[in-house]
Amino acid sequence: MDLGKAIKKLPEHEPRADLWERIDADLRADAVIDQALDDLPVLEPKADAWEQIAGKLEAEATSVQPLWARSLRWVAAAAVVLLMIGVWRVWQADSDEKVTIAYATETVEIEPESGPEPFAPAADQKAERFIREQCAQQTVVCQKPEVKELKYQLDELNTRKAGLAEQLALFGNDPVLVQAQIKIENERAEVTKELVRILTI
């Protein structure tokens, strides 16, 4: 007997007798919770909260932020851009050649209030197109578990990147969002680099 027929003949099993009562109880409980969510109390901060904020704003107005702290994220952004360019050069070269990638970090002085620059979108697209094309040609390599895993990781990172981009567009350059974006870009660069390395062996 083939597997398909055997699967169709698999026996059905009886769930526990009180299963519906449990589902029904959960649904009713969720409805009660949802209703109570609308009545959650509004909580009060400390009475002197405003005085603390006003004091801090006044103190900040008279202090100077060190330049290195403000430009640090742009250093990271520049490093990612250079890394992506390095990856792009790997696949531009013939695969038989021994390729050496040189990395350098440069400080880019940019007005901090302006929005974060996208991370070399052209290099991103080229890297991903290269991976797609290689996988179309080298189907055996792309079936390897490590390649599948890396591609899955890249997809996941792309999804997270898109989510962050939406939030950045909505809420502006929140420092945590920008940090998360840099982290994701670094991870993407690492995964892309590894994929390109495997596909060019």
């Binding site: 009562e21 919770i33 109570a36 009060e44 909260a49 904020i53 801090k56 999804t159 989510g163 909505l170």
Partner: protein, 155 residues
Amino acid sequence: MAQRLLFERYKRAMFSVALRILNDNDHANDALQDAFVEVFRHLDSFRFQSTLGAWIKIIVVRQSLRKRQLEWRFETIDEERHDQAVEVPDTVTGEALDAAIRSLPDGARTVFVLAEVEGYKHHEIAAMLNISEGTCKSQVSYARKLLRRKLAELI
């Protein structure tokens, strides 16, 4: 003073968010303070792509998450131990639910508050906490299971 009026208008709603995330009065006050300083520092960069309240709230949420600093730990429910049907009374008040939320484990509480109380989408929360959407969804489900059990004990 315009800044003071803005603070007075939003302080309770924003403090409630911070306190529910941090579960600590002092830390929540610190987060609120830092968040409003950031709000006033960057008010000129507000682009009206959301409501002002939503913009302030995301800053409060991020300050609260930054204050927490610890690595997130997400518990999972032990199905064998908690497989009994529970009856939650219809008379559950907002205060009772608030207390039950505050008793949840950190990870589940934060995800539940962001998703169910503050209305953020799973992918937004996943990005905020650097977790997968799957973890986010399972923690909301876990939080609900724990809340049902805690509220059932009110009977």
